[in-house]
Symmetry: C2
Subunit: 405 residues, 2 copies
């Protein structure tokens, strides 16, 4: 990095290359700096519940090592088998456990970073609380490789749950989806570990003719809710959850529901959420989105996108789902003949008025750069530029990502 700094040579850091916003894209003029040989788990302290890792360690290896001590690392996402912890930190990755444990930012106690000029900033704290001046770790987490290269980290581990129950519920209205979020969060404090919602079309597609999975519930409800609940009482936990779900059914909060009876069935329910093969089989072209907005605005927003797109392209389709407990909506759009820029505008434009975000968890990279100012103000972007210039005056670290200087 010292040599590149002196030579003005651009450097693109690369972890598992699984990012969804083009943050690791490079061209022939760049040096791509891979962390793949920084692959050591250096230490685990089960009593302090910490793990020291190099940046290139694969997320799944972190999970497996933590499990050996009855612990868990709270970050989990679909790319777990190939993404690296350094990339997770650089992008502040989200995933399926944010509702309970927060994003990557909240799982990192310590960090070692190499700056653009090659100097090393070590903040390898292993304590939970450290109020000693600016929390520089936070500046690097989520900066997508533009301010420094993460080389090592101290991760916070958590107690692993004794068991996880998974339920799929058919919900008659969005109001009831929102009521159920507060209801389960209050009734299962600290145990509600996922609150995912699938719109009917998405549920029907992923349990339909292109899918190997039969629909566990009828496909005529507008919303399907997928819950993970951590169980701490092996004797009564499942029974308590069954009682809660029965109450929901009796009170009309849900119209139907199923509680997985085995690990295989749990996996099957999650496949309805996470399997994109039916989409790939049915549609040649797919645009994926990751936005956040106030939960109560979501169904109207999705409908508006659907209508706007339909006016443009009658054969376009919108499949919505996401980490709704976090305010994070994903959708897949089959654009017909519409181009990306047009669809992007339909999706992102309404977020300005909703105080939403053009990226909930995937980052900005190159793909959303043109829309950064839909979410962040001119003053914020100017402050980002000022920060970037102060830390990388030669602009060699992942240049052109996030914003132009």
């Amino acid at each position: 990095m010292r040599i590149c700094h002196a030579a003005g040579q651009s450097v693109v850091p690369a972890g598992g290359m699984t990012g969804l916003a083009g943050g690791h894209d490079s061209d022939a003029a760049d040096i791509v700096l891979s962390t793949e040989r920084l692959n050591r788990i250096e230490a685990v302290d089960a009593r302090a519940r910490t793990m020291v890792v190099e940046a290139g360690v694969i997320l799944q290896q972190v999970h497996e090592r933590a499990a050996e001590d009855g612990l868990m690392f709270a970050l989990d996402l679909g790319a777990r088998a190939s993404c690296t912890i350094g990339g997770n930190i650089a992008t502040n990755a989200g995933g399926v456990r944010v509702l309970r444990y927060g994003m990557t930012r909240e799982q990192v106690l310590g960090l070692e970073v190499v700056l653009a000029d090659g100097s090393v900033v070590s903040s390898m704290f292993d304590v939970l609380k450290n109020n000693t001046g600016y929390d520089l770790r936070q500046l690097f987490i989520g900066s997508e490789g533009t301010l420094g290269i993460v080389t090592r980290a101290v991760l916070r581990l958590r107690e692993a749950p004794l068991a996880i129950e998974t339920a799929l519920l058919a919900v008659p209205t969005w109001d009831k989806v929102m009521e159920l979020l507060r209801y389960f969060d209050a009734a299962l404090p600290g145990a509600l570990a996922a609150f995912e919602v699938l719109w009917r079309d998405f549920y029907a597609l992923n349990t339909g003719e292109y899918s190997a999975i039969e629909p566990p519930l009828e496909t005529d409800a507008p919303f399907y809710l997928l819950l993970d609940v951590f169980i701490s009482d092996l004797d009564r936990g499942r029974e308590n959850l069954e009682a809660l779900l029965t109450t929901c059914l009796e009170q009309g909060e849900i119209v139907d529901g199923t509680l997985a009876v085995s690990e295989a069935e749990r996996a099957r329910l999650w496949q309805i959420r996470e399997n994109f093969e039916p989409e790939q089989k049915k549609y040649a072209l797919r645009f994926g989105y990751d936005v956040s907005l106030p939960i109560d605005s979501m169904p109207q927003y999705v409908d508006n996108v659907r209508v706007a797109l339909g006016e443009l392209q009658p054969d376009a389709e919108v499949f919505a789902y996401g980490h709704i407990g976090d305010g994070n909506l994903h959708f897949s759009i089959y654009p017909g003949a519409a181009d990306r820029a047009t669809v992007d505008e339909i999706v992102y434009h309404p977020l300005r008025a909703l105080n939403g975000s053009v990226s909930a968890e995937h980052g900005i990279g190159l793909e959303k750069k043109a829309f950064l100012d839909y979410t962040r103000s001119a003053a914020e972007i100017e402050l980002m530029r000022r920060t970037k210039r102060a830390m990388d005056p030669a602009n060699i670290l992942n240049p052109g990502k996030l914003f132009d200087l």
Copy 2:
């Protein structure tokens, strides 16, 4: 701020003035900028579980307003009746619920900040996830008024627990204190809301001749553990906890224990932890400390401080206690004739080798400025300076706090 910036006039932001590190100290050459008239709670959204406040709102008012909707704001600390939310944010305040919910940093969704030059940076997000470039909020949170002045915030609210149980336990060894932390955290996931430890001397002082509180347990155990547990099942929650405590007693993890039977008794148990009147009655001079270090090093560290101090001043005394679940140790030292600088050195010096922190939650301010480099590396401090110079080139915002430029 624009005028001060142009004139090079120093400005010291002031909230509730309850900080413990001298971050709001000023002299005759400074303008003190009070936020006391920024005292409006602007909005509460019970479904989204958010509250929009101006910076001068008192923490307790936030608690009271959240409670009206069955919600809670997770930050809680002794100064709740006079500290302001702006000050809490500027210092990244900690308190008694960090174990469960994290520090102030994790309770803030949006922020509005006035920079040194008078420009306003608004990041008033009300969504949980927003991965759109640098998370500038994090730079201001905990910067102790040196990078900007917090004027408004969007706070994250949580579901309030149905009830809270409080237990006081006498623990025979430090090993068992550590085992109990993992045991309760695993057995009561998401429900363990405080894990405070009192060393015997502190427990004895606060239940002794200078205190109005009789000791609920004998005073001969080396450690006393104060637990708060959130109850979600009003029928069986208390019974479950009693069963856990009985198991601990049978297995020798604790030697004695009591579970509060009323709100009055809960308050009395917490008084043993939070009441400093006995100290004030007995001792004319008291130095307070707030450090963090790996939990397994704590008893030896406290003993070492006690021995080092005793060699210097045979009549000195050390009373240790703290948020041990967070790795945060507080203590009060009665220094005899020893001066502050000497005692500071005895307390802070060993933290370097332990990778500990000279400030777990109180911040650096003026009081710990000389010891910042015991916890943060030269590269980190240089990066802090670079950040400060980029954001406040005239050095008018709380100058001389944290570090010298």
